[in-house]
């Protein structure tokens, strides 16, 4: 037993000495020169970042913009000033600050910290994640109105919004839930931040970036001229959390300052379809039928959950190829048989497994941590499957819910605080003396 252990250590050492590259042991070849002249050895410079891009500065501005949006939306009810605020915040958070770090991306930092040890998370990131959610609990989706640079850039591109058919709209709205789930799985298993990787507008803010992402961003902005805010409504994973929080918001957008005259002008003006028309108090469907449907959902839940778990397990194989550690371990096995090609100055390309070997990494600890990651990924994917099923059931239950209202009301889950409905409401215009 003991001998085999020592043998193992010996073999590893041999491998490191002979098979592997020896670059990392080979630095400091020449002695330090002894100068006879009065030559002073220069010091390496360390340029620092600007104060105005400091996250704390940005955080204070974020608070300020959120507060200002609340005041402009609920107190002054002014679309004009809100629009100016949108442009100002797009200029700072987008073009000047460069878009990072934003609340949408901070989801991943939060979940990575929750499920991992030794993750570097600054307190500002936590504040950036929780501030918009807290405002949503009390004031609705204020963050989407002006403070979010991704929303702001799309807001300026809305030219002639069309109504998305209800069926297509409700199907597309499921995508953010799936996206959020995948992003959380990726972040909590240390597989990279996919929300940031597929952030379509950040390359506009920086005037440079990945070409395919830039093109996709352009396409989304073009679609945004007719389908208002496509990213916010059908992609944004943060909108899932904001929707949930703003469901219980204390302050809600009331379209008219006094009495609704049921003129449907506000409904036509809403770019995101957040305004619901008056609903009749009598339903064509009997109460018994709706109850029956609920019972069916209750019966189907365990079967669906099982299916969800199976789906999650089936996802393991394709997703495990994206995990950096598991990938290296798999490549190491194939590297054992093949010849590692020599690098030279004109061909310095190297795979991650080769780089691991070149730097003399410990294979045993890598395999151990890869095993742990494997287990973690499997568990995360099972939870992902369960989450998907719960979302599906939630959608079904929501469809059976009955709503009655006598005037036009704003769905605070969908409202993105753009104040277009105020502008179109004849009652408000009359009070303001515009009509």
């Amino acid at each position: 037993m003991k001998i085999s252990k020592w043998l193992k250590v010996f073999i590893v050492l041999l491998l490191q000495l002979f098979v592997l590259f020896t670059n990392c042991f080979a630095e400091y070849r020449f002695p330090k020169p002894e100068f006879t002249s009065e030559y002073q050895i220069p010091i390496t410079t360390e340029p620092h970042s600007l104060l105005t891009t400091n996250p704390i500065f940005a955080l204070i501005l974020l608070c300020f913009v959120l507060m200002l949006t609340v005041i402009l939306l609920y107190k002054f009810r002014s679309r004009f000033w809100l629009r100016i605020l949108i442009i100002a915040s797009l200029f700072y958070f987008g073009f000047y600050h460069g878009g990072c770090i934003c609340s949408v991306g901070s989801i991943q930092n939060i979940f990575q910290t929750l499920f991992n040890k030794n993750v570097y998370i600054p307190s500002t990131v936590i504040a950036v994640f929780f501030l918009p959610l807290l405002t949503a609990v009390f004031f609705g989706r204020i963050f989407c109105g002006a403070a979010c640079p991704l929303g702001a850039i799309q807001e300026l591109f809305i030219i002639r919004p069309i109504k998305v058919p209800h069926m297509i709209d409700s199907i597309l709205k499921l995508f953010p839930y799936i996206y959020l789930g995948i992003a959380v799985v990726f972040a909590s298993c240390n597989m990279g931040y996919i929300i940031c990787k597929y952030d379509f507008f950040v390359s506009f803010f920086r005037f440079s970036g990945n070409t395919s992402i830039l093109v996709a961003g352009g396409v989304i902005l073009l679609i945004g001229t007719v389908v208002a805010r496509p990213y916010c409504r059908y992609i944004c994973p943060y909108s899932v959390l904001l929707r949930f929080m703003s469901k219980f918001s204390a302050q809600k957008v009331s379209i008219t300052p006094d009495n609704c005259i049921v003129c449907h002008l506000c409904k036509d003006s809403c770019p995101v379809g957040a305004i619901h028309p008056p609903k009749p108090t009598h339903f064509p469907e009997s109460k018994e039928l709706a109850l029956n449907r609920l019972r069916w959902i209750a019966v189907m839940t365990p079967i669906l959950l099982l299916l969800g778990i199976m789906f999650g397990m089936a996802l393991y194989k394709p997703l495990s190829h994206m995990h950096p550690e598991i990938k290296i371990v798999r490549k190491l096995e194939s590297l054992r048989t093949s010849v590692i090609k020599e690098r030279d100055i004109y061909n310095r390309d190297i795979t991650d497994a080769e780089a691991f070997l070149e730097k003399g990494g410990n294979t045993d600890t890598l395999i151990q941590s890869a095993m742990k990651s494997q287990k973690k990924l499997k568990i995360a994917l099972i939870f992902f499957g369960i989450y998907l099923v719960l979302v599906f059931i939630g959608v079904l239950i929501k469809a059976t819910k009955r709503r009655t209202n006598t005037e036009y009301v704003v769905d605070s889950c969908e409202c993105i605080a753009c104040a277009r409905c105020y502008q179109s409401c004849p009652r408000q215009n009359k009070i303001k003396g515009l009509l």
């Binding site: 330090k32 020169p33 360390e46 970042s49 939060i110 990279g192 990787k197 990945n210 795979t351």
Partner: protein, 182 residues
């Protein structure tokens, strides 16, 4: 159900949710670090593959070559400056390894030469880094320059890096410079 009852129930849920948010937020806040992070390359892990120059969201990349002079051997035949089998050891472009001519070679005293990086020209291709660490002292290496870096939440180079050399470092001390180990 009366209007008032519904209102109070909603209010209760609202306080419940905000309490929950504060709880998680507080838990994370205790775990968190007070200083912000920036990305940096660990020069000990770097395998100078040249991906920094192309993977960065900025063009040219925020990664530049830096020089720790105290490690440098001040060689006449610098393996980070000259191509292998250079015809002549002078500043001729055909002899230089750097594609943009960003390394300035100045005479100090016989036989020593000082090599300085002109960061406005450097594109972070790491050719000189390869040359210096393969055949020299390894005094040339890559670092993220924070006057240029946009500090993306997910660094694009970190995703492309084969050696996992990118890591987050505190904002107050954002450089991992090589020091004189001799």
């Amino acid at each position: 159900m009366t209007e008032k009852q519904q209102y109070s129930r909603r209010q209760f849920i609202r306080w419940l949710i905000s309490g929950f948010l504060f709880l998680i937020g507080g838990f994370l806040f205790v775990k968190s670090r007070r200083d912000d992070f920036l990305w940096q390359i660990d020069p000990d892990k770097c395998v100078h593959c040249g991906k920094c120059a192309t993977a960065c969201v900025l063009t040219p990349a925020a990664v530049k070559c830096v020089h720790t002079y105290s490690i440098c051997g001040y060689c006449d035949l610098c393996s980070g400056y000259f191509v292998q089998n250079a015809a002549k050891l002078d500043t001729g472009a055909e002899n230089q390894l750097c594609p943009t001519g960003a390394i300035i070679r100045t005479f100090v005293e016989d036989p020593y030469f000082q090599y300085t990086i002109d960061e406005t020209k450097c594109v972070g291709c790491s050719r000189c880094v390869y040359g210096c660490s393969s055949f020299g002292n390894g005094s040339l290496y890559l670092q993220v320059r924070h006057d240029r870096c946009k500090n993306c939440n997910q660094c694009a180079i970190a995703l492309a890096c084969p050696a996992d050399a990118f890591k987050r470092v505190p904002r107050n001390n954002p450089y991992l410079l090589k020091t004189d180990k001799l």
